[in-house]
Symmetry: C2
Subunit: 400 residues, 2 copies
């Protein structure tokens, strides 16, 4: 019998409420496999791999693992590094030093691309490696997946926040803008509608990056709702842009001579800043043509990290994709791929897990279907039917 | 036997997670009293009273009332109006038209002052009125109270958000600033420390309005923590100001030529804007003297409205202060006053409810005791011992 070979697991990109469930799911299956020796967790993703910064995971007790699984954010640490060919060569060097045969990378579409690149270089250099991408992203923007682990919990946070903020806005009427995460995909912003009641109607307007919007159309929409209802609650994706692709954050900054921050990759910094929300509020106050109480919040990192937002379905499925990745590696002929979630039924809700080629997912972005978006400023029942089973029922609220 | 006289209940100021508990508590006691005829809820506080905009509350069923009690925000609607003498005269006119003998006003220190003013004018004009203020404020800044209903639930939200954000900041290290509500009192900002673990230490810095801070001291503190730990999580009250009383939001805007928004009362607008957080982040990036990932969030209205943040103790006590106000009006010689919560024990936690004169509370602001604040940038165990029984234990988190 050959010597058992080792496995590396890492977590990449923005943390979520359930990414540690996937980590624990993979560990649970791998530790039972005679073919697997050590299970190495890489600290801070690829950045840890190239520094041989590993923690041994095969001997942790189940009670400890269960606590880790229920802890939000990435227990191994994460990284925003996007490896190039030279970086991947250093990853493979580390794998060779540690007799690594199995690589599991939990992350979004950038991470699936990294996984693909590492595999490609391993094959080119004749290094025997099995590489699997385990899906995770609150943005819900992986192609070939019905949804991704992490989304439902973030959507639950957004939906609950909007139920409360809608009641707050009823109590103290005015115009309230809430900016949500989502540079290219509007799934999280759409979740603002999940707790909406038929008659009370907040949020009244939703803007997703899938549909171009300019600031004058935005002004007209808000003015119309505010005139009719005396209040207006708006959900806005951080990534909304005009028809030419210029982010709204940039357009308004130019129009009103406001400063713009950039992130490490040279993109306009959207997360971790209230700039877009404040610019939109300022634009409305200047251009509505009448006094109005305008307030703006940016939900920020709370969407992915708030302690207590994890939904039962999300926790369960995140664990399962971790297990499915390990089982696919150990029990099938597949030596690489990206784990998927496919919905088989709405009622009763049911899914099955699959595995597709890495290049089918890597670096691609899934968008909210245009037929779920109404007149560029709302989502319809098709989205609600899609998202309701993921988030579950929200607590009932009552009025006098 | 004389004709039963009527009661008016209203809710004022910023909504909370449990203000409707107090409303329901008052209704429960009043509806059983033969001396009370109709129970009138004023829509949007004093603004509704002067328009005779009332809803009858005495015939609502208990299941409906329980649902209302568990709904966040103000079910009657709220108002930011601050009545003057002429406004109070219109309030008394409405009371006279509706045979109102009892007035219950649920709110913060501005509301207790309104209650006092209405009572004073009633007495001056010979109108027989019993007027009671029922405490409510997430700011926790009413004098003569151990704490106020609404604070614990908001503190619970803040504590959970910081536990998650601290884990997020560990996973993707950098400098993270979170700005919290509290123009004059730092109780809510202090709550950021409630979930802090001894060894991991986030939040590392807390700035409360009780202690003056200038931007250069802030820079030095952040630089020290960031150098030592490679990350830094900071909690900042929106109301922090320099030694001369100038709000930090204004100082930084002047120093970096950024725009400043004002609210309807001509104060710098602190809530519903990310301006202070963004200005602090910008200031750090410009002045740290080395590259650093700096992100800033403003928790905003979520602190008071997020669906699901209400704590059991807060719900219970909010109901009790409503009941106690009604009982005091009906069963004691007192004809006016402000309901208080007094702590009688820490372990097991216990409180009793009292009633003090309106002018003892009205318009006054309670602050975080200076002996609970450490070196101007932290809170100590005295605060934790104070706040822990109110918020309860937080879910455990685990690390690898």
């Amino acid at each position: 019998m050959s010597t058992p070979l080792n496995a590396v697991i890492a977590q990449s990109g923005g943390p979520t409420a359930v990414i540690n469930q996937s980590l624990v799911g993979a560990i649970e299956v791998l530790r039972e496999a005679p073919a697997v020796g050590r299970i190495l967790g890489a600290r801070h993703a690829v950045a840890g791999i190239v520094k041989d910064d590993y923690v041994e995971l095969q001997n942790l007790g189940q009670p400890h693992l269960e606590q880790v699984a229920d802890t939000p954010a990435a227990a191994l640490g994460s990284s925003r590094d996007r490896p190039d060919a030279a970086y991947c060569a250093r990853i493979l060097d580390s794998f060779a030093r540690h007799d690594v045969r199995y690589f599991f990378y939990i992350g979004g579409n950038d991470s699936s691309d990294t996984c693909r690149l590492v595999l490609e270089q391993a094959q080119a250099s004749g290094y025997e490696l099995e590489a699997f991408h385990i899906p995770k992203t609150i943005d819900n923007d992986l192609v070939l997946n019905d949804h991704t682990p992490g989304y439902a919990s973030a959507a639950n946070f957004v939906a609950r926040a909007f139920v409360g903020d809608n009641l707050d806005n009823e109590a103290l009427p005015g115009i309230k803008l809430n900016v949500l995460m989502g540079r290219h995909a509007g799934f999280l912003t759409a979740a603002a509608a999940l707790g909406r009641e038929r008659d009370e109607g907040g949020p009244h307007l939703l803007y997703l990056p899938e549909v171009a919007v300019d600031e004058d159309r935005f002004l007209t929409d808000v003015d119309r709702v505010f005139t009719r209802r005396g209040r207006c609650l708006v959900a806005i994706s951080e990534g909304i842009a005009g028809a030419d692709g210029t982010p709204m954050a940039v357009k308004l900054a130019q129009r009103m001579q406001l400063p713009v921050e950039q992130d490490a990759h040279g993109n306009v910094q959207l997360s971790g800043s209230g700039a877009l929300a404040d610019a939109l509020a300022r634009f409305l106050k200047r251009n509505l043509g009448r006094p109005a109480r305008v307030r703006a919040d940016t939900f920020g990192y709370l969407q992915r990290s708030y302690l207590g937002s994890a939904t039962p379905t999300d926790r369960f499925e995140a664990r399962e994709v971790g297990r499915h990745a390990a089982r696919t590696a150990l029990e099938t002929d597949r030596t690489d791929g990206s784990i998927t979630i496919e919905r088989i039924r709405d009622d009763p809700y049911g899914v099955r897990y699959g595995c597709v080629d890495l290049e089918a997912v890597a670096g691609k972005t899934r968008h909210v279907p245009l037929e779920w978006i109404e007149e560029g400023c709302d989502v319809n029942e098709a989205f609600i039917r899609y998202a309701r089973p993921l988030v579950g029922e929200l607590p009932r609220v009552a009025r006098l």
